[in-house]
């Protein structure tokens, strides 16, 4: 078993673990903003790590190039989408959790 195969196994295990933890977090979290946290865990720890594992397994080819392109695309667009949803939720009056102490966006609007 070569060193690349060991890396692929480790990355795949990490990817499955984070996908499961993120989706359980989406169910368990109480709030939209906390759910966005868990969703980011799903995307980054699950999907992007899985695509990197595919690219490492394939070596240098167009196959791995496509996997890297998808991983980079998700890496740059997933935070943008999460930010847009959070801003829309805040503008619609979705409240923060009761434990939150400051709301900088609300202060900046005034």
């Amino acid at each position: 078993m070569s060193i690349a195969t060991v890396i692929v196994y480790i990355l795949l295990a990490v990817s499955g673990f984070f996908a499961l933890v993120g989706s359980i977090g989406i169910i368990r979290m109480p709030n939209v903003y906390n759910r966005i946290h868990a969703e980011t865990l799903c995307v980054f720890g699950g999907t992007i790590v899985g695509l990197v594992a595919i690219a490492v397994f394939q070596g240098w080819s167009t196959f791995s190039l496509k996997a890297i392109v998808i991983a980079l695309f998700l890496f740059f667009t997933s935070p943008v989408g999460s930010h847009a949803i959070a801003k829309a939720a805040h503008e619609s009056g979705e409240g923060l959790s009761p434990d939150a102490e400051v709301d900088r966006l609300e202060e900046a609007k005034e």
Partner: protein, 89 residues
């Protein structure tokens, strides 16, 4: 050897997709549903990648890229459309 492990990880992703679908159905507000559907599309992109390696079909990755782009555009459109409205459905 590695293909069995790929199928196991794809099954774990599928279970995670079922959890996201449950949350999308019972979500309290519409933003909960949007976030759950976003996570569901990202997980399905991962499953498409694993299946492309399992069947050795490179074309699945093209479909995954198009699906990721559509999910991103849908995110922005939905958040632009819903911003400033009330929380009632």
């Amino acid at each position: 050897m590695i293909s069995d492990f790929l199928l196991v990880v794809a099954a774990i992703f599928f279970i995670s997709m079922i959890f996201c679908l449950i949350q999308a159905i019972r979500g309290a507000t519409m933003f909960d549903r949007v976030v759950s559907i976003d996570a569901l599309t990202a997980l399905s992109v991962g499953i498409l990648g694993f299946l492309s390696l399992y069947y050795n079909q490179e074309i699945f990755l093209d479909i995954a890229l198009v699906y990721a782009i559509i999910a991103f555009i849908g995110d922005l459109a939905v958040s632009k459309y819903l911003s400033g409205r009330g929380l009632e459905e």
